[in-house]
Point group: C2
Chain length 187, copies 2
């Protein structure tokens, strides 16, 4: 395998092991076995399990919220809610997220890394799409990107990852419309 | 101890043990010891650990979202967001919730009970306060209580239990105002 392919195989193996056995019982041995590589290939990349998991999961978490730039705030919003709702309904995500949240509640290092990864990237997305919308005159000047992000992601997370109540396209449409009104968007 | 006091002592012990060691490592022995009662006192009330934890946590989860009836939708909303934000910031809740969510992701029985407890009670709260607001002419007829609940609780849960980003009164005020606009409330 090429070096990049090995890294990719290890990343995939980590995500699958996390979903199957959880962080607590995940072992470097099992990851290496599943990836079809030696343990040294893992240790060459990450010095321990915590570092490995945090780096890989943070990366996936960042990629799961895209940076849309469709030229319209309403469409950017639709795109974000659609993609986030798909990501949260993904079988692997729905196993891994609650498990890491539980670890984070007991391990400040995990908590800090996850929160930084989540918050930094999402605020960047919020600032960009809200900032562009303000410039285009679609949102009032001074719109708070922080609240905007919480209103976009909170209901989806709450409903899909916590209450685990299914949603349909109608729900996503209503939610996007509610967020537009909440932010005082011009129609 | 009176029978009611014993039940209360066991309930408290379960919440503290859940926060300290988590569901996986919680034992009936440790609960009885902490409550200062015999194991039989526990088994007289619940037939096993799962049943005990679910019944106790569901009860606390229900009580944590109050059924406000202040005569004004804006004030009901402020009350709900204030109390939920306090509950989610409580040290014990912030340990127990992620842990049970992780168990729920692996155990359909836990998932089902938690979700029913969360969803049923919250929808009842949503239907009541939204229904009253529609009757008073504060919200448009046909306002969806489902979306209203998700907009009230989602951002708080997301921010406090997931991103673990602190909030202040200013944030709560902005959020309540955003939800009022989202639902098309009359000022």
């Amino acid at each position: 395998m090429l070096r990049g392919d090995i890294t990719k195989a290890i990343r995939n193996a980590v995500m699958h092991e996390l979903a199957e056995v959880g962080y607590g019982r995940l072992s470097i041995e099992a990851v290496a076995r599943r990836a079809g590589v030696g343990k040294t290939a893992v240790y060459r990349r990450w010095s321990n399990k915590l570092e490995m998991v945090l780096e890989i999961v943070s990366g996936v978490a960042e990629r799961s919220v895209p940076m849309p730039d469709t030229g319209s705030f309403a469409t950017d919003l639709q795109l974000v809610t659609f993609i986030v709702s798909k990501a949260l309904q993904h079988r692997i995500a729905s196993q891994i997220i609650p498990d890491l949240m539980a670890e984070a509640a007991r391990n400040p290092k995990i908590a800090e890394t996850l929160q930084r990864a989540l918050r930094t990237h999402q605020l960047a997305v919020g600032e960009k799409i809200v900032g562009q919308a303000v410039e285009r005159g679609e949102l009032p000047a001074g719109t708070d990107p922080d609240i905007a992000v919480d209103l976009m992601l909170g209901p989806l997370y709450w409903r899909l990852a916590v209450a685990r109540t299914p949603i349909d396209d109608d729900y996503l449409e209503k939610l996007a419309a509610a967020v537009l009104r909440a932010l005082g968007a011009k129609a």
